[in-house]
């Protein structure tokens, strides 16, 4: 029940959208970003080490070299654990809620679950990002005091930033499930 389609992100990087239908009211949508490139990783590492070696040749202190190794290791750990997002997924369960998960390259997962009672709608928005206009999907949260108001906007797929064609795909599948909740007697 899983299908996978290829799209491009806003910056032109290829991404894959995987759709899994668990049941009539439960659907999982996952956007997988590009894998970590060995080439860019080794380029960054060798740049740091070359700079450290240059500094070492100037001041002849071997502390510089060990510091460079240390910095590379710490930087790699921080990059994998906090920065590089491997996969962002959206689990929509009708009548229960929407779960947003982003999995980091190190395996760490950060999850937020939004109950259906709080979800007002899922919409596509425009935003100005750097010098261009991009589209993004977001969940509008219901304001508890005011039934018409929106208390918060939760943006989705923040790190992969898919283009509009991919977003429309996700939007349609979300709305199919959200519709069920509204048409139900």
């Amino acid at each position: 029940m899983a299908e996978e389609r290829r799209f491009l992100s806003a910056s032109g990087v290829p991404i894959a959208l995987r759709r899994r239908q668990h049941s009539a009211s439960c659907r999982e949508l996952a956007v997988r970003g590009p894998r970590l490139q060995l080439r860019s990783l080794s380029a960054a590492t060798s740049a740091v080490w070359l700079a450290a070696y240059g500094l070492f040749a100037l001041c002849e202190n071997s502390m510089v070299l060990s510091a460079a190794i240390f910095i590379t290791l710490i930087g790699l750990i921080i990059y994998l654990h906090f920065v590089k997002v491997d996969q962002e997924s959206l689990l929509v369960i009708g009548s229960l809620g929407i779960q947003v998960t982003s999995a980091y390259a190190s395996g760490k997962e950060s999850t937020t679950f939004i109950e259906m009672g709080q979800v007002k709608d899922v919409v596509i928005n425009e935003a100005i990002h750097m010098q261009k206009v991009i589209y993004y999907l977001c969940i509008l949260l219901q304001d508890p005091e005011d039934p018409q108001g929106v208390s918060e906007v939760v943006p989705l797929f923040q790190s992969s930033k898919p283009r509009l064609d991919c977003l429309i795909e996700v939007y349609k599948s979300c709305q199919e499930i959200l519709e069920q909740r509204k048409t139900a007697p």
Partner: protein, 599 residues
């Protein structure tokens, strides 16, 4: 750029569908099933039916055989104790072999004895992971097929965890808040149900999560028994101590002034309050107060442990003596450096040409002051070791107290720098104010005190002459004073930064919620920020299976929620007003205490 910033740019007209104001719950039935009951023998399911959410929270399984009347009695009793409307929700059959026809009929008949709408039937065949689940509705108007979601939950974790942010139990009922908190609340309140023992020979056999019995250790019991009189004794001593502190003898002018200036006294007072909170025999009202007490207790313990560690380090190998021996030369050295600095200022510092007469006068004045200071230090030097020895004993009250004493000692030893700063600032301030008022005179204006504004005014010729003359003199003398002011302000700022760092450390130890952090590290389910679901394997025709796990609060969230309030020195001014005050030569004190009046 954060996408959240663009919520105003929402383009709703083309993309979003119309928002329906009314919301109707979908006909999806959710069954929250405790994962510990999945291997239970056949029986009936008891739990709570939450009709507005169309979900059933199953708490336990009652095994065959039972007498229906006794079950009803038992449920009534449970309801009375827990205030949760527990009822029989359906049947549970766990058949090792193939399904038997007679059993299924029997299970349906059970539905007529315990009338509940809807009647849930869950059956597990063999070791299959996929259970079949059906709903019987007798008086249903719309006999449509309902979708069922089976949600497994860990009964123990859900019972022990606390959802954040915590609810106001007085103001709002848990039912109003949200679906999940209702479920958490139901499980937590039916704790009494889980206390019954597995081997208890009662009329009813239940399966649910249960503790393996409370570990009884003699030491723990003794400690529990001893803690009550211990707390009472502590409370008595503390009330005595605070009574002495509040007595009128210590309220006279010089003493009260001294207390307010010493940070050690502030810290001791703060710790006294903490001890009073811990030793009070009032039971903690809710989770937050309990956590606060535990946090204070752990922070106090860690503080004292660190203090004793420091003390044991200080008093070994005569380190106090070494410290005292180095302290006096350091103070001497600082004074010498200051003398050199003054000599340099009295010449032509950095090639600037100063007013020679004023420069000499100021330089000599400060030199004399340093001379006084050095003789004072030398007078004190024989006693320094003894003083340090006794002061070091106070480290057993905690590391924070020791740090506060260190800060006070620094303050006392750099008193001359503070004096220089005050002299320089006063002189500079006087000049700035004189110059500004004379500048107004220069332009034919004056400050009207009554109306708080600048009025124009016609001066006599000789008034103007004298004013202009004074203005010129002040203007030409300004660079010399400004230089002295600048140098001493920089020195003062250096001392203030060192003290500020010490106070930051003290604040960190005071306010860090260590108990909550340890709880988050070891029992992460206790502090829940919410839940997360995992979709388990599916099979066609069988209900959707989800696993509900607890999403722990992040470390930042823990610190934010449970941070202990400090007596705290918070910055008195913003950076801009600080710079303005520095420029105008007003005296700056970097922080103020909460109790201080605004002056």
């Amino acid at each position: 750029m954060d996408l959240k910033d663009f919520r105003h740019l929402m383009n709703r007209d083309c993309m979003s569908i119309g928002v329906h104001p009314c919301r109707v719950t979908a006909m999806v039935l959710k069954v929250f099933f405790p994962s510990c009951c999945s291997s239970a023998d056949s029986g009936i399911l008891i739990g709570r039916w939450i009709s507005e959410q169309n979900s059933a929270v199953i708490l336990a399984v009652v095994h065959f055989p039972f007498i229906p009347v006794q079950v009803k009695q038992y449920l009534g009793e449970v309801q009375r104790v827990t205030k949760v409307s527990v009822s029989v929700l359906g049947s549970w059959s766990n058949s090792k072999q193939e399904k038997e026809e007679s059993l299924s009929e029997f299970l349906e008949d059970l539905g007529t004895i315990f009338c509940h709408e809807p009647w849930i039937q869950i059956s597990k065949e063999g070791d299959s992971k996929f259970w079949s689940c059906s709903i019987l509705q007798k008086h249903s108007k719309n006999p449509q097929e309902e979708e069922i979601i089976l949600v497994y939950y860990d009964q123990r974790k859900v019972m022990l965890s606390h959802l954040h942010p915590p609810l106001d139990t007085a103001g709002q009922r848990a039912e109003d808040a949200s679906k999940l908190s209702a479920i958490f609340d139901t499980v937590a309140r039916s704790q009494v149900l889980f206390m019954t023992d597995r081997y208890d020979e009662g009329p009813i056999k239940l399966t649910h999560w249960q503790s393996d019995g409370v570990e009884a250790s003699i030491i723990v019991e003794l400690l529990k028994q001893a803690s009550v009189p211990g707390c009472m004794l502590l409370t008595f001593l503390l009330s005595l101590l605070s009574g002495i502190c509040r007595s009128r003898l210590l309220k006279f002018w010089p003493l009260s002034f001294l207390w307010s200036k010493l940070s050690t006294c502030e810290q001791l007072g703060h710790r006294l309050q903490h001890l009073q909170v811990i030793s009070s025999n009032k039971k903690a009202q809710n989770q937050n107060q309990l956590m606060r007490k535990a946090n204070i207790f752990v922070s106090l313990l860690i503080d004292v442990a660190l203090g004793i560690l420091l003390m044991s380090w200080l008093y070994r190998k005569n380190r106090i003596g070494h410290l005292a021996d180095t302290l006096i030369p350091v103070a001497d050295h600082v004074a010498e450096e200051l003398q050199d600095l003054l000599q340099w200022l009295m010449g032509a510092p950095a090639g600037l040409k100063m007013n020679r007469a004023l420069d000499q006068v100021l330089g000599r004045f400060f030199l004399y002051h340093i001379h006084l200071w050095i003789s004072y230090i030398h007078l004190l030097s024989p006693f320094i070791e003894m003083i340090l020895w006794y002061v070091g004993l106070s480290a057993c009250l905690g590391l924070t107290v020791a740090l506060c004493i260190l800060s006070d000692i620094i303050e006392l030893l750099t008193f001359h720098i503070y004096c220089f700063y005050v002299y320089g600032a006063r002189l500079y301030c006087l000049k700035i104010y004189g110059l500004s008022s004379l500048w107004r005179l220069f332009r034919g204006k004056k400050w009207n005190v009554l109306r708080q504004r600048v009025d124009s005014c016609s001066y006599d010729l000789d008034q103007l002459f004298i004013g202009t003359l004074l203005f010129t003199i002040l203007l030409f003398l300004l660079p010399t004073t400004a230089l002295y002011y600048l140098v001493f302000t920089l020195l003062r700022l250096l001392v203030v930064i060192v003290q500020g760092l010490i106070h930051l450390l003290v604040d960190l130890i005071d306010s860090l919620p260590l108990y909550s952090l340890i709880l988050r590290l070891c029992r992460s389910y206790r502090l829940a920020a919410g839940v997360k679901f995992r979709v388990l394997e599916q099979q066609d025709g069988k209900p959707l299976r989800l696993l509900m796990q607890i999403n722990p609060l992040s470390y930042g969230g823990v610190v934010q929620t449970y941070r202990l309030p400090t007596y705290s020195c918070y910055p008195r001014d913003s950076w801009a007003s600080l710079c303005k005050k520095l420029f105008l030569g007003e005296l700056i004190y970097p922080w103020k205490h909460k109790g201080d009046k605004q002056n």
